[in-house]
Amino acid sequence: MTSYIIPLIFLTVLVLSFFKKKDAYSMFIDGSRSAIDLMVGVFPYLITIMMAVEVFRVSGVSALLANAVSPVMSFFGLPKELTELMLLRPLSGAGSLGVLDTIFTNYGTDTFIGRCASLIYGSSETVFYITAIYLSQCKIKRLRYAIPVALIATFTGCVVGCLLLRFI
């Protein structure tokens, strides 16, 4: 069902442009022209974050830190095996996907740990990454309470979701 939605939207828009006698071809070219400029702005942030996340993960410091804060996870009813995933998820999608893969290999997908890991990855977003990319082209230096609020909201969602997984 859902796989039809986006192609259908495309088809509708293109057919509409035909009947409205607008040149979709040249409009598409105009739009896609700005992609390179956008990437020139985004790229430094991409590389800076991913470089740091990779070395942080490979060095084992993330696992060490995960060990240290795992009591907090247990306190909120989350499996302590998922601490590293929880820590890396806001930083990098690719980095945390690697951790998710390891969790599936080690604990299976249909155990409570596996389901909980799916929920943590599936219901949340890369908070720090998105913030850095979105702000890549403006002069904002002080974000005030934006990041703490996003992190608290995401964490609460995960805690409640994992609690529900025990019953659903």
Binding site: I5, I6, V13, L16, S17, K22, M27, F28, D30, G31, S32, S34, A35, L38, G41, V42, L46, I47, M51, A52, E54, V55, V58, S59, V61, L64, L100, F104, G108, T109, D110, S118, G122, S123, S124, E125, F128, I133, Y134, L135, Q137, C138, K139, I140, R142, L143, R144, Y145, A146, I147, V149, A150, A153, T154, T156, G157, C158, G161, C162, L164
Partner: protein, 232 residues
């Protein structure tokens, strides 16, 4: 006095540059003791995957920006902005039509699970909201928070990965996951609303009869919008 207090509090709040520095120092420091060769290798491989991702993203951005240009010229984006106006009016205060369009396109792309299509629109929206400022306004914080806690109604990456790992029912976590993502968005919006009352913007952007409301620029903006609606 109160202002100074707010300023001091704001400084404690985590920012990316501190986290980045701590992560790198800790990681490289640890690797010096365990495996010094891996330090540069890991950083290079991280940069390498960033370049690969960048190339993927250029393709995706070009594709989606092209599509959005068609939506824009056919005035479909105006139409979507109009449908979602009650939502944007609730979330954001005093935004102009152009910004509203970017915000609604960003939200609809996120709702469809197209995070990468949402990014260009989000950047444009933030650029218009910031307008050379160095400190985030409530509107900008709201924009960041709703994007960072965005509704993930169909986490296709995880479902696909569960399937390849031989899961019996790859989508079994979905009901709980949807509740979790809705809860995180609602809580995020609520907290931003709450904090905007506790720490209001200095320019008074979020209050009735504020400086911006009285300014010539705002009146001009308002006038334009009225003109736009009359035409329709």
């Amino acid at each position: 006095m109160l202002v100074r207090n707010n300023r001091r509090r704001a400084r404690i709040i985590l920012n990316m540059s501190k986290i980045w520095l701590i992560m790198l120092i800790a990681a490289i420091g640890a690797l010096l003791f365990t495996n010094p060769d891996a330090a540069i290798a890991a950083m290079v491989s991280g940069s390498h995957s960033a370049v690969k991702l960048a190339i993927d993203l250029v393709a995706l951005y070009a594709f989606w920006l092209g599509f959005f240009a068609i939506l824009e010229k056919l005035h479909i984006s105006d139409f979507i902005a109009k449908i979602l106006r009650p939502v944007t009016r609730f979330l954001f205060k005093d935004i102009d039509d152009e910004t509203e369009k970017f915000i609604t396109m960003n939200m609809s792309a996120n709702l469809l699970g197209l995070g990468n299509a949402a990014t260009p629109m989000g950047i444009n929206a933030i650029n218009r909201l910031s307008a050379g400022k160095t400190k985030a306004t409530t509107n900008m914080i709201m924009m960041i928070v709703i994007s960072a806690t965005s509704l993930q109604l169909l986490p296709s990456t995880v479902i696909g990965m569960r399937a390849t790992h031989g899961s019996v029912s790859p989508a079994s976590f979905l009901p709980a996951s949807i509740i979790a993502t809705v809860l995180s968005t609602v809580l995020g919006v609520f907290l931003v609303k709450l904090f905007s009352k506790i720490f209001p913007d200095k320019e008074g952007l979020n209050e009735r009869g504020s400086l911006l409301r009285q300014s010539a620029k705002y009146k001009k903006m308002r006038g334009k919008r009225n003109l736009g609606t009359e035409k329709k």
